[in-house]
Each structure stands twice: as structure tokens, then as C-alpha cells.
């Protein structure tokens, strides 16, 4: 004697369920093999389900009118011969289950950095040489790390690869820091700290916890302005609104490519220093909602024209509120152009977890010493803030000097 479980089969090539229309047997009935037990209604037809065995009906598991799902137990029949104990689930239970996993557990990602760009062969060589590609600046298209980059990194970690010249031309960009709301006009009373202001406040709290050091200087901007004028002259309409900002950002990006430690983040709790492969420069923009910092990705790869267009798009999006979260994430360094507001010197605050920020003051004629004589020159004040936990004064100064050199002689910007 054995109990045979009869389960609802899929009788119509992919049916999921059936309605119980009529029981054709009762508990205790003696049934023959293939004697109809129950009439069911499916999406396709009405059908009688015959008993798989001869025996006595031990139990019925659905009421007339119920909907049974394929695989559900319908009837138990006590059979005289001890053949199979479960019928009609063969198809459902025939699924194979995969072998127990023997593969090593998936490693937990240690950081959320984006993969650097490099060909598989370069990756393999880097692995073999024990070099983390994230520490190498790629000079190929889109920042790709080339074999030459890898070779250079292998020989001299700080080498500054010489590569083909890049195009330089730029288009108009509006003043990214401009704001039109009346300043300092918050009405008397208590105001909830919300939105961008709250986010800014929190960010500043975090940033203020960073031990800052600052370096300041002034740049003779004569050549820079002359160069910009010449480009506008050459391009006419196309460069009508070209500001100095793309030049400034380009110079910073070049300096970051040279001094990669400046393009890093620090996490003292995890006790790691993450040096980033990509140079993504945040541009601080004052908006009605507060300070926003859209991010210019792979800034070291952009020519002036492209960069100016991108700066224009980002600052417009920041001001009209259409900027996406993606356009404000993944920054690795920040440029604050407070000079557009008229300022001269300031102490810019780092945006944690970045380790550096550069602020530019307004370009104005100011006394400047040239060949021992004080003359009036358009000067560009520069202030660099660094995280002193990672950056010391020597690196800060070297980095800032490099920016100054590039902006003093902008022809150097045209060459890598």
C-alpha cells in the first residue's frame, strides 16, 4: 500500500492554473487507473484528469470553484501497488539545480572607483609588474593608459609623458560663479536649514575638520589675456564669449596630472589614500539655492573649445536647477573662481574627501615688479588650499608654481 499524491499537471503547453469544475469521485471511492477524477477548466479548454493508478481516494484538496496552481496537490489515492508516490509534478520538479558553488566567493569591492581605461594587454602587464593602473595618468584618447604610459610609470613614477599636441580653441562660457539674488537679504527670523544650504553646511562642517594649509600668490596675466584676445580674434563669432576660466581649469588639470597626489582623497578611518586615475574638477558655482559644484570630467583630456562648452552647460544647469546628481559627483579636485565676484585673496575650503582646492581672484591691474621696476600689470591672484594630513608645504608650493608657470606663459598650455 502506498499513498499516491496527484498534483495538477500543466495540460496545455504552458498553463499556470486551472479551476476545479467538478469532482467526479468522493473520498473512499475505489477508482480504476485512468478513471476520471476531476473536471478542470483551463484557459484553453475543459478537461477531465484521469487517475494515474488504481486505488482508493484518500483525500481531496480543493473545493469546486477553487483555482489550483500547476503543481498543487489535488488528490491522494491509496494504491494497492507501491509504485511512484508523486505523480504529475515531474515536469515542474525536473528542473536541475546547479551544483553547490565551488567557485571562490566574489571578492567584495574595496572601493567604488570607476575602472581606468586600458587595453587588456596593458592591464595584464600592469598586473604582472605589480602596478595599480589607477596610479597612472593615461595620455591616450579619453585618458586611456597606453603602453608608453605604463612604461614611463615603470621607469619613473613622476615622468611627464610627451605626446602629440592637442587642439586649443574654445567657445563662450558664462561666468560660472555669478548669482543674481540679493545677497545677505535673508529676512529676520528663524529659517529651517534645508536643501542646498543644509547640504552645504554639512559639507563645510566636514571640510572644516580638515587641517588646511594655504599658499597664495599673484600671476602676471598679461600673456594670458593677450592669448585669449588673439584666439577670439582668430575665431571671431565662435569664441565671442570666451572667458579665462577654461584656461585656468586647463592649467590646474595639467598640474594635477603632474602632481597626482594632489588628485587624491584620504580616509583616516580606513587608513587609505586613494589616488585617482581620472582628473575630475569641480567648479564652485554660487546659485540661488546655495553653492553647487558641477564636475568637469576628465578635465585633462578636454581641449579649450570642448571645455568651454562643457563649463557653459554645467553652470547653466546648476543655475537653472536642471543639473543632475551625476554631473555633481565623482569630483577629485575643486576650482573656485571667486574672482568673478570681484575678490582678490581668499582661503578656499577643501571639499572632503578631496585633498586640494584652488581659488582664483579677479584679474585687475595691480602693481607688479617687472625687471626691478614696479609697473601696473593685470594680475591674477591665486590661493591653494591643501589637506595637511596628506600634503605638505613643499608639494603645495610646487603644484601652485606649476599652475602659475602655465598661466604666465599660456603657450605652454598648448603643449603636453
Amino acid at each position: 500500500m502506498s499513498d499516491i499524491e496527484f498534483r495538477l499537471p500543466d495540460i496545455g503547453e504552458g498553463l499556470e492554473e486551472a479551476e476545479i469544475v467538478e469532482w467526479l469521485v468522493e473520498i473512499g471511492d475505489q477508482v480504476r487507473r485512468d478513471q476520471p477524477l476531476v473536471e478542470v477548466l483551463t484557459d484553453k479548454s475543459q478537461a477531465e484528469l484521469p487517475s494515474p493508478v488504481a486505488g482508493i481516494v484518500a483525500s481531496l484538496h480543493y473545493e469546486v470553484g477553487d483555482i489550483a496552481t500547476v503543481g498543487d496537490l489535488l488528490v491522494v489515492i491509496t494504491s494497492a501497488d507501491g509504485s511512484p508516490t508523486t505523480i504529475a509534478t515531474a515536469a515542474a520538479e525536473r528542473q536541475l539545480s546547479p551544483m553547490p558553488a565551488t567557485a571562490p566567493a566574489t571578492p567584495t569591492p574595496t572601493s567604488q572607483r570607476r575602472p581606468v581605461k586600458a587595453s587588456p594587454a596593458v592591464r595584464r602587464r600592469a598586473r604582472a609588474a605589480g602596478i595599480d593602473l589607477a596610479e597612472i595618468t593615461g595620455t591616450g584618447p579619453s585618458g586611456r593608459i597606453t603602453n608608453d604610459d605604463l612604461a614611463a610609470a615603470t621607469e619613473s613614477p613622476d615622468s611627464f609623458g610627451g605626446s602629440p599636441p592637442v587642439p586649443l580653441i574654445a567657445a563662450a562660457t558664462p561666468n560660472p560663479a555669478g548669482g543674481e539674488q540679493p545677497l545677505g537679504a535673508l529676512p529676520i527670523g528663524t529659517h529651517p536649514l534645508r536643501g542646498v544650504r543644509r547640504a552645504t553646511a554639512r559639507a563645510m562642517e566636514r571640510s572644516w575638520a580638515i587641517p588646511h594649509i594655504h599658499g597664495m600668490d599673484e600671476i602676471d596675466a598679461s600673456n594670458l589675456l593677450a592669448g585669449r584676445s588673439r584666439i577670439k580674434e582668430l575665431l571671431g563669432e565662435r569664441a565671442a564669449g570666451l572667458s579665462v576660466l577654461p584656461f585656468l581649469v586647463t592649467a590646474v588639470a595639467r598640474a594635477l596630472a603632474r602632481y597626482r597626489t594632489m588628485n587624491a582623497s584620504i580616509d583616516t578611518e580606513a587608513e587609505v589614500i586613494e589616488v585617482h586615475g581620472a582628473i575630475n574638477i569641480g567648479i564652485a558655482v554660487a546659485t540661488e539655492r546655495g553653492l553647487l559644484v558641477p564636475v568637469l570630467r576628465a578635465a585633462d583630456e578636454l581641449d579649450l573649445l570642448t571645455m568651454a562648452g562643457e563649463l557653459s552647460r554645467l553652470s547653466k544647469a546648476a543655475r537653472d536647477g536642471s543639473i543632475s546628481a551625476a554631473d555633481m559627483s565623482s569630483g577629485t579636485f575643486t576650482v573656485s573662481n571667486y574672482g568673478s565676484l570681484g575678490g582678490r585673496l581668499a582661503t578656499p575650503i577643501i571639499r572632503a574627501p578631496e585633498v586640494g582646492i584652488i581659488g582664483f581672484g579677479s584679474i585687475r591691474p595691480r602693481p607688479f615688479v617687472v625687471d626691478g621696476a614696479v609697473v601696473a600689470r593685470p594680475t591674477l591672484p591665486i590661493a591653494t588650499g591643501c589637506d595637511h594630513r596628506l600634503i605638505d608645504g613643499d608639494l603645495l608650493t610646487a603644484f601652485q608654481e606649476h599652475v602659475i608657470a602655465l598661466l604666465t606663459d599660456p603657450v605652454a598650455l598648448m603643449v603636453r
Binding site: I11, L49, P50, A88, A90, R94
Partner: protein
């Protein structure tokens, strides 16, 4: 079976035992088929196509052939009626409906091809096979089953045309059971009959009562003699009615008129033959019981064998090429690494 006992006999010379055997096999066909239908309703078999209404055509034709020299290419309803070609056919049928790959293997020396799901695709195969027999000067004919619906396929016309050109020893047996799933004959063709289509091929086409096993036997015998004499193909349209759903997945009450079904039930081919033999005192209730029991036991045995047949889960890698390609070997190794060497049952 000894070759001597398998050679076809002309219809008028059929012995009493042979007549009784025809009925036994017709009953057997329906018992096997009904059991297959129930197995599907019990979740133990996949979609299958009942034979009800076609028994006289299949059994009558198979007895007009010589299983030691002649070949049968079925569509997909015929295996249950081809016991004459080998007892193991029924085991293969049980494997076939329960989804075992071995169901496609009709072993030597059974001259029956596996069921063909692609309608009419077997007709060019039959012509090729008959052509091959002809080229090798091998005696034998090829009989190919197909339905009224399949006759609308291009393969039927291409193969019929070429068979006529070759004068190949092939018999086209069109089982006209009135329905191609839900499409009735008059939506299938505007020809007066399916047999008429032979005119385009340049060989004879005849229509025969498909509910009369002796009429089918006689028609196929004549066609066979023609073929063996080198006179080429014959198209036989055997007219019957589909007395069951198209397949287990079909509901014919949606389209078959009740009165039509009732009329044809009165002409049930098994019932007709039973009446004939009973009237000749060749059949009684004991014979009926015995025929049913024998078939039921045979099918039960076939089902038990099928359900206990080992089914390697990676069996689909077998018999794709004579020697598996390196890629298949890799794929199979990956399959086994992932799933293990389980049984697919």
C-alpha cells in the same frame, strides 16, 4: 516475425486470422493513444496527438506493405498503428511522448522513421528514399503519411512533382480527416478532392474510404504493385474524420459541429470492422476483451520502461555530429561542471 509471415497479401486473400489481426491492431492503436492522452492529463507525458479515426488507414496500409522491404515515413499520429513493423515501435512511442530523446530512434530493422512535426517535410525524404532504392536496384516501396493540411505545403507539391519525374516507388498517403486543427477541408483546398492533385504530378490519384480498413488495404496494395512494377508513385486520399482533439492541447468543441462528430462516430473505423467480423462470427466479446487487455498491458509495459529509462540531463549533446566538435565538448564539460551528471528525469 519471420519474413514469410510478413509479406502482404491481396485483400481478397486475407485469412480469417489476418482479418482478426487487423482489428486487434486497430484496437491496440486506440488503446495506446488513449493511454498517451491520459498520461498527458496526469502530467506524465508531453503534448501528443490522438489517433482516433485514423486507425483503419494506418493498420490497413501497414498490412499492405512488407516490413522487410518497405519503408514508412509517418507524420505524427501513426506510430501507434505500426506494430506490424516491429513490437518495439510501441516502446519508442512511449519514450517519444514522455519526452525522451530515444523516442526518435526506431531501431534496426524497423523500417519506420521517427514522427515528423514539420508538416509535409517528410514527403521529400520519402521521395529521396524511394529514389535511393531505385538507384540501388533494391526492391521495396516507401509509403509516406501526411494530412489534408500538410497537402497545402510546398514540400508536397515539390516532392510529388519530382517523384513523378523519377517514377520513384513511393506511395503518398494523404489522411484526410477533415480538419487541420480547426481548419476544415473546404478552407484547405478548392480542389474537388486531394486525390485530384495527382493529375498535376502525372501519376494516379485515388480516393478511398479511410474508415474501411479493407478498402485502404486494397488501395495501398495496388499502389505498391504499381511502384514495384516500376510504374511510379500513387497518391491515395483516405477519407475519415478526426474523432478526438487535434492534440492534448486542443479543444475541438470550439469548432467541430456536434452533429458532424456524431455522424462520423457511427462510422468509427474500429466499430465498422468489429461489426463486419462479428457478423462473420470471427469476433466476440472475449476477443474484444483480450484485444483491449493485451494492448493495455503492452502499453503499461512500455510506459514503465519509458518512465524508468535513464535520461542523462546532457543527452542533447549526443547525436548532433558523428564526432562532437571541440566546442560541444567544452560546452558539455561546462554543463557538467555546473549541474553535475544528473539524471534529467
Amino acid at each position: 516475425m519471420a519474413p514469410g509471415s510478413t509479406a502482404p497479401t491481396s485483400t481478397h486473400d486475407l485469412s480469417d486470422d489476418q482479418l482478426r489481426q487487423l482489428l486487434r491492431e486497430m484496437i491496440g492503436a486506440r488503446v495506446f493513444s488513449t493511454r498517451a492522452f491520459n498520461l498527458q492529463r496526469q502530467g506524465r507525458a508531453g503534448t501528443n496527438a490522438p489517433v482516433d479515426g485514423n486507425e483503419a488507414i494506418i493498420v490497413g496500409a501497414s498490412h499492405a506493405l512488407d516490413p522487410t522491404t518497405d519503408w514508412v515515413l509517418p507524420q505524427y499520429r501513426e506510430l501507434v498503428g505500426l506494430q506490424r513493423f516491429g513490437d518495439e515501435v510501441i516502446d519508442r512511442y512511449a519514450l517519444y511522448i514522455t519526452g525522451h530523446p530515444g523516442g526518435g530512434h526506431l531501431p534496426e530493422p524497423i523500417r519506420v522513421w521517427p514522427p515528423q512535426i514539420s508538416l509535409a517535410a517528410q514527403i521529400p525524404h520519402a521521395v529521396g528514399l524511394a529514389w535511393g532504392l531505385q538507384l540501388q536496384d533494391t526492391e521495396g516501396v516507401v509509403l509516406v503519411f501526411f494530412g489534408d493540411g500538410a497537402s497545402s505545403e510546398g514540400d508536397f507539391y515539390e516532392a510529388g512533382n519530382f517523384a513523378g519525374v523519377l517514377a520513384a516507388p513511393v506511395i503518398f498517403l494523404c489522411v484526410n480527416n477533415g480538419w487541420a486543427i480547426s481548419t476544415p477541408t473546404h478552407r484547405q483546398t478548392s480542389a474537388a478532392s486531394f486525390a485530384d492533385k495527382a493529375a498535376a504530378f502525372g501519376f494516379p490519384g485515388i480516393q478511398v474510404d479511410g474508415t474501411d480498413v479493407l478498402a485502404v488495404h486494397e488501395a495501398v496494395s495496388a499502389a505498391r504493385h504499381r511502384a514495384l512494377a516500376g510504374d511510379g508513385p500513387t497518391l491515395i486520399e483516405a477519407v475519415t474524420y478526426r474523432l478526438a482533439p487535434h492534440t492534448t492541447a486542443d479543444d475541438p468543441t470550439r469548432y467541430q459541429p456536434d452533429h458532424e462528430v456524431a455522424e462520423w462516430r457511427d462510422r468509427d473505423p474500429i466499430e465498422s470492422m468489429r461489426r463486419l467480423l462479428t457478423s462473420r462470427k470471427l469476433w466476440n466479446d472475449d476477443d474484444e476483451q483480450e484485444a483491449n487487455d493485451t494492448a493495455d498491458e503492452r502499453m503499461e509495459l512500455a510506459v514503465q520502461r519509458a518512465e524508468s529509462a535513464p535520461t542523462p540531463a546532457d543527452g542533447f549533446f549526443d547525436h548532433v555530429y558523428a564526432t562532437p566538435t571541440e566546442r560541444m565538448i567544452r560546452q558539455r564539460a561546462a554543463f557538467r561542471a555546473h549541474y553535475g551528471q544528473e539524471d534529467g528525469q
